[in-house]
Amino acid sequence: MLGLNKKDFLLLLIVTMLTMLAPFVLNPFPEGSALAQFNAGYPDLMQRFVIFGIFAIGFNILFGLTGYLSFGHAAFLGVGSYAAIWMMKLLTMNVIPAIIVAVVVAGLFSVVVGFISLRRSGIYFSILTLAFAMMSYQLAYSVLTPITGGETGLQPKVNDPRLLDSALVDGATPTANLFGLSMRSSYELEIGSWLFTFNAGYYVAAVVMLLSFYLAIRIFRSPFGMMLRAVKSNQNRMKYTGLNPKPYTLAAFVISGMYAGLAGGLMVAMDSQVGPERMFWTASGEVVLMTILGGVGTLIGPVLGAGAIKYMENIISKINTEILHSWFSFLPDGLEDLIVNLTYPFIGKGWHLTLGIVFMLVVIFLPGGLVEGAQRIAGLIRRKDKSGGMPPASAKAEPAE
């Protein structure tokens, strides 16, 4: 189906269902209940899930397949964002040109960065990409202020030219749209005490994510994808087999740069703003964490990793001392305070601490990431099903599972 084998098609189908039904799936708890704060089904966060999913899917094509670890991919995301916002200022608030130009500009930029950085491999390659990203950040932050808006960044303004759009009605602000459908418009569905939000922007981003995911599966299963795994495995053997590893690696770099640009363009399509912090080195590190946390070189891993990290960032950082006190109020006062004080460093702004611990645990105990975790659980269930039967399939993560 769709040129995929049965297993891949099933995976695509499951991911499609989950993304389409995400407003339900991510909102399991009724409004007003104590657990409602664990709901993730609000547009802003759902958009981030799929956009960072795209970012990580693309990153994994480079890192997962070729093994080249870039520490500068946020630069491409940022460049895509700036390109997109300029489309919104100059051309139209329709998101299509913004997204396309974001991909193209990020692609061109990654040709340059990739061409130079790929002269080295291993840690030197990583450092070169990091250096490029830092320079990009600095350029956006100060040197190129006329183009990037410096520290404050850019937003579409009422008096921008916008050649293709008709003049705004007095008092109206420019809103990102898809042929008139505002990215902010949402439909709310109330069932009992549950509230589900269906947001136009989310569905646009989700469809783009599904297309990106489909394309990634095709790349993984293609001769090109096999060559990228060969790059990771043994570049010498490639050369003496008549293959030139350089253009393969550069192509992977540019593809992943374009995915990053796509994510950056979509971010602008959702919130119509951009600032230099989008290119800061921590943003580049985050996509590395997402990919490793989910499972390097696996198809679904990066999406899971992106989801897990964005979920923690948004949900754990919202928990405050009051909420902690309400959770532990059943305990005697002294004990309650103690537990709250012990937990406090890990919540709110301290969510990075929690992320760090989770990340360490995963890397140490599940080197194959969340995907390996899922495979192990599946293996256990299978073993229980036919107790005394066949030994479970090896839990070792297959490279392209």
């Binding site: 090109f224 060969a230 043994n234 053997r237 003496y240 087999t241 008549g242 293959l243």
Partner: protein, 252 residues
């Protein structure tokens, strides 16, 4: 005029003269063995033929075209494949993938952006890869990761990767090292069979004299970086200079 002409090749590593004025003429469609003691420079010579090393001086012509200065992948595309002394394979890939990759390299050249088709829809190449695995008795291991193979199997896999490209010139650096006796004999038969079936020139480096004298039509003896003898197997067998250099006087 040979298919491969090596003339006046010198290579120094610091103070060590690894190759000293090596001349070699490999006749098309023959099996040519290069023998010599450890450290004689046999592997270094092959390295100079495939672009892994650049000799300090000298020239290498393949099929009438100069080889020196070309990148390794360009030299392979001219029709030279090599089996290494320590197997160079794609350890993380499956055995089948290891053999399919050279097929793609041969058909599509050094780079092709075929990112949308599926590998498994390339029936012609897949059939070719599977049939060479059958020839080498490795078909039942095709889904295994190449890194998990035994040492002898790795070597046979690498040979399959080279043979599937149908090279004009095949360089084999100790192809039977680490193989059991039976596998060694199979390998001899396989190489003979391939030689009979189609036009191919082979250069074999071997320590195992059984292999050398079963296969070679011509032998060159390398010692301390220089060719000290060259000729038909029976001539080499009786050559006292060779016995002196190679075996310290023992009978071959």
């Amino acid at each position: 005029m040979g298919i491969l002409e090596v003339s006046g090749v010198n290579k120094r590593f610091g103070g060590l003269q690894a190759l000293g004025d090596v001349n070699l003429d490999i006749v098309e469609n023959t099996i040519h063995a290069i023998i010599g003691p450890n450290g004689a420079g046999k592997s270094t010579l092959l390295n100079c033929l495939i672009g892994k090393l650049d000799p300090d001086t000298g020239s290498v012509m393949f099929d009438g075209k100069p080889v020196l200065g070309l990148a390794p992948h360009q030299i392979n595309q001219m029709g030279i494949s090599r089996v290494f002394q320590t197997p160079e394979i794609f350890a993380e890939l499956t055995v089948l993938e290891n053999v399919v990759i050279p097929c793609f390299a041969k058909r599509d050249g050094p780079f092709r952006m075929h990112a949308y088709e599926s590998v498994f829809h390339e029936n012609e190449l897949m059939d070719k890869a599977e049939s060479i695995l059958r020839d080498l008795n490795m078909h039942m291991k095709k889904e295994m990761h190449a890194g998990a193979l035994s040492r002898g199997d790795k070597r046979r896999l690498e040979m399959a990767m080279c043979l599937v490209q149908e090279p004009k010139l095949l360089l084999l650096d100790e192809p039977t090292a680490g193989m059991a006796r039976a596998d060694t004999n199979n390998t001899i038969d396989l190489l003979k069979e391939i030689k009979e079936k189609r036009d191919i020139t082979m250069v074999v480096i071997e320590h195992d004299m059984h292999v050398v004298f079963s296969l070679a039509e011509k032998i060159s003896v390398l010692a301390q970086g220089s060719i000290i003898a060259e000729g038909l197997p029976q001539d080499i067998k009786g050559n006292p200079k060779v016995q002196e250099a190679y075996l310290g006087g023992a009978q071959l």
